[in-house]
Symmetry: C2
Subunit: 409 residues, 2 copies
């Protein structure tokens, strides 16, 4: 059953280096890294230069290498490597959420066509084995929702914003100095990273393949001090959630800051930690919590995938094959929308308003709002911050029908 693995490794950054160390230190696996392909040969490396090449063919055309571990940043280059690896009959382990989210259906089908393993647990929430559990364990209990903190950088910033009286920019700068945020933090703080991960979660939880850009996305850059104050006064915390829910017979998903209360397990998930909640019809809420990033935690997740390949493990994507659910972007949610320019609030259309506050520095409304209207806010340049509530997502079609009926009567 067990394959003796010869690994061709692409990338020797934080995670690649971690994997290398773990493989050597743990001695638990009879897998070895034969060659490492890097982009910049002039960089100082911790191991001998004979391990490295800059020519990808040295890995892809080496018949002895039966597993490609792809850990590079560039999603386009990764795409070429992975496709080429499949065609050469090589198994692939990847941690590249952008690559996977953008080419989900194609890569799934290609890997099946060539009969190889394609596993990417480390791409979603680092060390947390969420994909494996969605694939293997939660395949009967009808899952009603999956949501979680999938990005450590933003959670670190949100935690610091609450604990210290500093501005967003100060906290971000501090996070960058400590290595918790990239020098270009856009992918994280604007929610793109969380959007990619949600795409993958939705595929494995519900069997629905959606384009990442079709998932409504808010980052955390527009959150004001007054929003943090609002949360504190109500005993709430703000978490950037990747959230997918079954609404009738459709799946709805979004990435946005949410208020969570003490009852929710993500309330206690601070700093760089990640956590995912799976809500089943029968099993109720299950939380998986762990370190979402970092050299060792992510390296360890990659190692688990390597080990799975050794036992010929493949995702079966059963839900994708069996399910017939559609992604539904016609929905409405309960939102808190605040701004320093109170006139801006007048231009925003709510289905219904529960609270309305006008202050000297800051004004806000709380109410039910459509996805369409939220998208308009997301795309505008106005200084408006959006924080959602964890109330259930409403189906737009059903809501509209209700409104039409009300108007008729």
């Amino acid at each position: 059953m067990r394959e003796n693995l010869k690994i061709g490794l692409f990338g020797f950054g934080c995670v690649g280096g971690g994997l290398y160390e773990i493989l050597n230190k743990s001695n638990l696996l009879d897998a070895s890294i034969k060659k490492i392909c890097i982009k910049d040969p002039s960089k100082d490396r911790s191991i001998d230069s004979s391990n490295f090449t800059t020519n990808k063919a040295d890995l892809l055309e080496d018949d002895e290498i039966n597993l490609i571990v792809e850990l590079i940043d560039d999603a386009d280059a990764a795409y070429e490597i992975v496709v080429e690896a499949f065609k050469k009959g090589k198994n692939v382990v990847s941690a590249n959420k952008k690559l996977i989210a953008n080419h989900f259906a194609e890569l799934k089908e290609l890997s099946e066509e060539y009969g190889v393993s394609f596993i990417y647990e480390a791409a979603v929430c680092g060390s947390i084995p969420i994909l494996r559990n969605l694939e293997e364990y939660y395949n009967n209990d009808a899952i009603s929702a999956v949501y979680g903190i999938c990005n450590g950088t933003t959670n670190y910033i949100l935690t610091r914003l609450v604990n210290e009286n500093k501005s967003f920019d100060e906290v971000l700068k501090n996070a960058q100095e400590l290595g918790f945020a990239e020098s270009d933090p856009t992918l994280d703080i604007e929610g793109f990273d969380s959007q990619f991960k949600l795409q993958i979660l939705i595929a494995h939880a519900f069997g629905v393949i959606v384009k990442p850009e079709d998932i409504l996305r808010f980052g955390i850059t527009k959150i004001q001090e007054s929003d943090i104050k609002f949360a504190k006064e109500k005993g709430l915390r703000i978490r950037l959630l990747s959230r997918a829910e079954k609404v009738d017979d459709t799946i709805t998903g979004l990435v946005a800051p949410h208020f969570v209360d003490e009852e929710d397990a993500t309330y206690g998930v601070n700093n760089e930690f990640n956590a995912v909640t799976v809500k089943g019809l029968f099993a109720d809420k299950q939380l998986f919590q762990g370190k979402g990033a970092g050299s060792y935690p992510t390296g360890s997740a990659v190692l688990s995938d390597v080990s799975a390949v050794r036992y010929n493990y493949k995702y079966e994507w059963r839900k994708i094959k069996e399910n017939s659910l559609n992604f539904n972007n016609d929905f409405a949610v309960k939102a808190y929308i605040s701004t320093t320019e109170f006139l801006a609030l007048d231009g925003i259309e709510f289905l219904s308003v529960e609270e309305s506050f006008i202050g000297l520095d800051n004004s806000y409304k709380v109410g039910l709002i459509t996805r369409e209207e939220l998208l308009r806010i997301a795309e505008s340049k106005a200084n408006v911050s959006v924080v959602l509530f964890q109330d259930p997502i409403h189906d737009g079609t059903a809501l509209n029908q209700k409104l039409i009926n009300i108007q008729k009567n």
Copy 2:
């Protein structure tokens, strides 16, 4: 690949009834319950009496039944059923921790001998898929510790003890009225249930088979109001932990109340919830949290096992086959030991004492103490409560060597 499952169900209590409902409601599985064996035919049942029999042979000798789901209380009767099922070539799903913990090696070997699946995820922490993850995912990252809240009843009582100013007996009575504790709560509150579960966790996490009764065990019945007060003053909470740790090249385990601080993920796990932390050398701490008991959560865990059988899933018990670790009962831990009879403290031998307090109502000491001495306390009738700290467990042999060296110099 898929077997069409005809289920013979033993037991129609809380979990059995839950499973029946879920199977019918979810429609997600082409498995059906052919016959249900019960003890008491006179009880009122929610479904037609034609489903039931009191003769176990009706299930075990029916060739069409290819899966026995065993959900009865009586571990001795369950043992006979399971062994008989194996011999008839039938797969078995069980939620009976006492049965499994007491006959671990034998049942493992028998199931292998007869080539059938024997799965029991629901026996440990209800809906939390901890065994599956230990088997499949954490098989490389050297696990350094596994600990958790494995018993919902005691966690419910401990939560209430902190939140309300009531005595242990009052809280227990209340828990019984609400259905969170059995009419005979001994198995739960004296820690036997947690001991069984720890036996199973140790086998799957470390590949070590230990007799449950060899695991040091303290329940929660001797916890005093003054202990709760001590915890509160220091910002700690008390949790009954099933705890196993790698100490050098051995495995050590114990069940006891522990002080946990805000930094530990079990701090926020309240009421009837269960949670298990897996600590890996590289992945760091991972928390799995969910409902540990109840008709639906446990029924759902059983259903996941049923589904796994359908795909011919078997535990491989790889770690048991590959590992050569021993269980080590020669250890010392940091403990808080308190009593209302302060003279009783004098009779207790500590290796070293960090704190000593004598009060009118209550006295305590905090210090390092051997397993041997703790066992003496556990077996005595004295009114002494023991709460451990989460500090690492010390190897007894190494400690003794150190003490001998100190005495020599």
